[in-house]
């Protein structure tokens, strides 16, 4: 059952920092968006919450490539997360949420679930 989603505009390209991350607030909570200008695709979005500390810090980690995979290192205890899959390189059982992200003109849009409070009746219809 796929929840109903929307492409939420979260920021503009001017807000991005090349080779690094920024955090945005979405209907689904805090999300980290990374912009890797030398990579295809160049945009990644994962949960901003570090699963090991519970703190919202992942956007402030250092990005890089390990074994050819784009990753971010948590700024607190330095675990690496695959930006594509969200899987933790140090512990494959740990995974952060990933979000589809796209560039729409100057806008960055994230595909996030429509929060329950704002869910329209149609949601149930669609899910069915």
């Amino acid at each position: 059952m796929k929840p109903r989603t929307q492409w939420q505009a979260v920021c503009t390209v001017d807000d991005l920092v090349p080779d690094s991350g920024i955090a945005v607030w979405t209907e689904d909570g805090p999300v980290a968006i990374f912009y890797l200008p030398y990579h295809l695709p160049a945009l990644f979005a994962i949960s901003h919450t570090d699963p090991f500390s519970g703190s919202n810090v992942l956007a402030r980690g250092i990005t890089g490539y390990l074994k050819g995979q784009p990753v971010v290192a948590s700024p607190l205890y330095k675990e690496h997360f695959n930006l594509r899959t969200g899987v933790c390189l140090e512990d494959e059982n740990v995974k952060v949420k990933t979000y589809p992200v796209l560039l729409d003109g100057d806008l960055i849009r994230l595909e996030v679930p429509v929060a329950s409070a704002t869910k329209t009746p149609n949601a149930a219809v669609q899910a069915a």
């Binding site: 945005v24 030398y38 810090v57 980690g61 250092i62 990005t63 890089g64």
Partner: protein, 838 residues
């Protein structure tokens, strides 16, 4: 104290080398230096003079630049000949004025000897010593068909080669029965002659010229005592050199019987205020016509002027190795076998044109001398046997036999002792080379620039390469020190690449020397730190932002809940009541948990990302600067109260601590740095547990280095005692910069020292004795860093672009981070623990 005046007469090779050594030494600060050079150009490499004919320019040969002289504060008077010296009033006189000196150095070199032959002063009768001489030779050769060199010695043959390269038919006229009579014996001379003649240079030996007159077919005619004659368009006299001692002679200094300014082991002349070095100086009745002994004199004199009572010139080896007109010629030690009882072994292969003579001691154990013509292959090995007294193998002849005839392979660099002199021009031993390699010089070029080896006559190039290759190979066996999968280099190597190639961004380093296109959280901060150590640009400059650890990115320390702590700098732990009040007010306004740190300053905890610039705006307005608590850089300089208040204090430890903290704040280093300054031996500042510890004595300061608290405490080592303020700073500058350049990533000074080959003694040599000759460079590098300091926070709050980075959620300024929850404890706010939130 007003400065003394040091005057150097002569801006040649040795004079320049002296200035290089002296300006990098502590005593330089006490002197105003004046230099007079009769030539119009700044000192150049006379040894490679002939390259001027092969397209080299003065700039290629120059040993220094006018800028360098200006930077050193040297008052350089070129094209100004000193015409006399008045020793009573201590003045040198030139056509432009007279100048007082406290100390005078004569480095006037030598001049070519022109035999007193009637007619030797006509047009097209020239000498071979200066660039101006070469211009004249070139002009004269232009339009001439033949040229004669008078003198078949080392320089004469070089001049003949030059004439040949200018397209004239070259002749060599030698008074002695053979070529290079000083260095070669009859057989060697004969072989050299046949080789040179086969190259088209005509050699005339045992010829005494009686007069030079106008020629019939050419410009000039030389008449010889045996009745024969030779016609030529130009003549180059190269019949030996004479020390340029005219000035010294005229002012009454003691001169040797056959010329030369008499000097003692300290290079002092008969007047204690006047020194002489280089080819004008006569030591132990010897003039040294080579550059290496002159350089040694220059170093000796620099040490003497620095008050080093052990400095003494002790003679020099005169062995030579050359390629003359493409023919190898080598002469080592007692080449003529004049030592009583010595034995000679000769190898003469006319077919292949190789002559070798080995002179060994009576007991057959040591090499005394050697002559090589045709192939200098065994030269390096033989020289090392001779210089280091290495015991000969049972059948010494193998040393000069070609390998195909059972000859021994060259003495491997491994067999050389650490004391073996590799480069005599710059007095570099094998040990020095190993040290340079261990200090991060990982290729020939780096070793050359670190040690200067092989940048003089170049004779040692091959040997140097062997030693370097061998030592690198030895070290190559070690475990990979690659930084990470993106850079197959150690931190030191990367430092070198960045510094030498002037690389300023991570991207260009990665493109030129890295693997892949992304980097990682290991190499990015490491490179960011190196870039900062080298160029000191703002850490949040666009190119550097993504490289920084989160603490550097936000210039604050991230806490477990994602908030930050703020530590303003409190240099030396001294703080005014007003500033204390500001800290209190700011903490209160933003509800920050406040704590005195172990580093004598105040930490404010619990600021959110977006509060950081607001808080810093207020702190900066009150005069605070960033404390770099987040950086791999100087943290605090802990002080005790010192002589101002304490009844035992012998120096102003607070003043020194503040000075040190302000000097080194902002220096990015492989790991954090901590310092301490105590006002007396009771050591209340715990300086001996710091990277740099300073303890006052009644004469100055004792310096301790490489201490550590933390996980594995280490007592600092006593490094130097009773230093003046200036000496202390210069030593700390050098220790820190050497650490910055050579340590591994995240290696504290304690671990660095423990891994440094040669340990504390080696570090002392590098820093206190300047064994790598890089002291001045290290200090200059530090001066650059100090000079480009900026408070990173100040720059950041003033720059709207940089401030954009401090938004918790870029699209929701009002949004609070829901996981940051608080409670009160002991009247302050603190984060709720996980157990409390659940």
């Amino acid at each position: 104290m007003s400065k003394k005046t040091l005057i150097v007469v002569g801006n040649g090779m040795v004079g320049h080398h002296f200035l290089e050594q002296f300006t990098a030494s502590p005593a330089a600060a006490d002197y105003q230096i004046l230099v007079f050079g009769e030539e119009p150009l700044v000192a150049y490499d006379r040894v490679h003079l002939s390259e001027y004919f092969a397209q080299a320019t003065h700039a290629d040969l120059a040993l220094g630049t006018l800028e360098w002289y200006a930077e050193q504060g040297i008052d350089l008077h070129l094209d100004e000949q000193v015409t006399s010296i008045d020793r009573d009033s201590r003045k040198v006189i030139t056509p432009k004025g007279s100048y007082r000196y406290d100390q005078l150095v004569l480095a006037t070199g030598s001049y070519p000897f022109v035999p007193p032959i009637p007619g030797n002063d006509q047009e097209h009768c020239l000498v071979y010593r200066t660039l101006a001489d070469l211009d004249q030779i070139r002009a004269s050769a232009n339009g001439g068909k033949t040229g004669v060199v008078v003198g078949g010695g080392l320089l004469g043959l070089e001049a003949a080669n030059a004439l040949k390269s200018l397209g004239v038919q070259a002749h060599v006229v030698e008074f002695a029965p053979r070529l290079m009579p000083v260095q070669l014996d009859a057989d060697g001379g004969a072989l050299l002659r046949s080789k040179i003649e086969s190259l088209g240079v005509q050699v005339h030996t045992e010829k005494a010229t009686t007069e030079i007159v106008a020629g019939e077919e050419a410009r000039l005619r030389m008449n010889f005592s045996d009745g024969s004659h030779l016609e030529t368009d130009l003549i180059v006299f190269s019949a030996g050199i004479r020390p340029q001692d005219t000035l010294a002679r005229n002012c009454g200094l003691t001169i040797g019987e056959r010329g030369g300014i008499v000097v003692n082991d300290q290079c002092a002349t008969s007047d204690g205020a006047v020194y002489a070095i280089g080819e004008c100086a006569l030591w132990d009745n010897k003039i040294f016509g080579l550059v290496a002994p002159g350089y040694t004199m220059a170093r000796t004199l620099s040490a003497v002027l620095n008050g080093d009572s052990s400095a003494a010139f002790a003679g020099a080896d005169m062995s030579t190795k050359l390629k003359l007109l493409g023919v190898d010629v080598g002469s080592i030690g007692d080449a003529h076998g004049q030592t009583p009882g010595c034995r000679n072994i000769r190898f003469n292969d006319e077919a292949s044109g190789i002559y070798r003579r080995l002179v060994i001691s009576e007991d057959g154990k040591a090499v005394l001398g050697a002559i090589l013509v045709g192939d200098n292959g065994p030269y390096d090995t033989l020289l090392q046997y001779a210089l280091n007294g290495i015991t000969l193998p049972d059948s010494p002849e193998v040393l000069i036999l070609p390998e195909s005839q059972g000859g021994a392979p060259a003495l491997g660099p491994d067999a050389l002792p650490d004391t073996a002199s590799i480069c005599s021009c710059h007095n570099v031993t094998k040990g020095d080379i190993c040290c340079a390699i261990d200090a991060g010089a990982t290729d020939l070029g780096a070793v050359k620039s670190a040690t200067k080896a092989s940048t003089g006559c170049g004779g040692c190039t091959a040997l140097l390469k062997n030693v370097v290759d061998c030592e690198l190979e030895k070290r190559g066996m070690e475990v990979s020190k690659d930084l990470c999968e993106h850079f197959p280099y150690t931190r030191q190597e990367l430092f070198h690449l960045i510094k030498v190639n002037g690389i300023r961004t991570f991207r260009s380093l990665l493109r030129q020397h890295g693997v892949g296109h992304g980097g990682c959280d290991i190499c990015k901060p490491a490179v960011a730190s190196i870039l900062a150590s080298c160029w000191n640009e703002h850490i949040l400059a666009t190119d550097h932002v993504p490289l920084q650890d989160t603490n550097d990115t936000f210039m604050a320390n991230m806490q477990k809940n994602g908030t930050y702590s703020i530590v303003p700098r409190v240099p030396g732990g001294e703080i005014t009541p007003d500033k204390l009040i500001v800290l209190g007010e700011v903490a209160k306004k933003y509800d920050l948990y406040t704590k005195i740190t172990g580093g004598q300053r105040i930490d404010l905890f619990g600021a959110t990302l977006s509060e950081l610039p607001l808080i810093w705006e207020e702190l900066i307005a009150a005069g605070f600067e960033t404390g770099h608590a987040y950086g791999k850089s100087l943290r605090t300089v802990k002080s005790c109260v010192g002589s101002t208040w304490c009844r035992y204090g012998v120096q102003d430890s607070v003043g020194m601590a503040i000075f040190l903290e302000n000097r080194y704040k902002g220096l990015r280093s492989p790991h954090k740095l901590k310092m301490g300054v105590s006002g007396c031996t009771r050591e209340c500042a715990e300086a001996q547990s710091k990277d740099i510890g300073v303890i006052a004595t009644d004469k100055g300061w004792n310096l301790y280095v490489c201490g550590n608290g933390g996980m594995r405490p280490r007592h600092a080592d006593l490094f130097a005692t009773d230093l003046s303020d200036e000496e202390l700073i210069s030593a700390i500058d050098r220790v820190l910069m050497f650490y910055v350049r050579t340590a591994d990533r995240l290696q504290r000074t304690s671990v660095w020292l423990e891994n440094l080959e040669g340990g504390l003694d080696y570090l002392k040599q590098v820093v206190l004795e300047d064994s790598l000759g890089m002291g001045a460079e290290l200090e200059q590098h530090m001066a650059d860093i100090v000079g480009t300091y900026q408070c990173e926070w100040k720059t950041a709050v003033e720059d709207p672009e940089k401030r954009k980075r401090f938004r918790e959620f870029v699209n929701a300024p009002e949004q609070k981070d829901p996981v940051q929850q608080w409670t009160q404890e002991r009247d302050q706010r603190r984060p709720l623990l996980e157990t409390e939130t659940a």
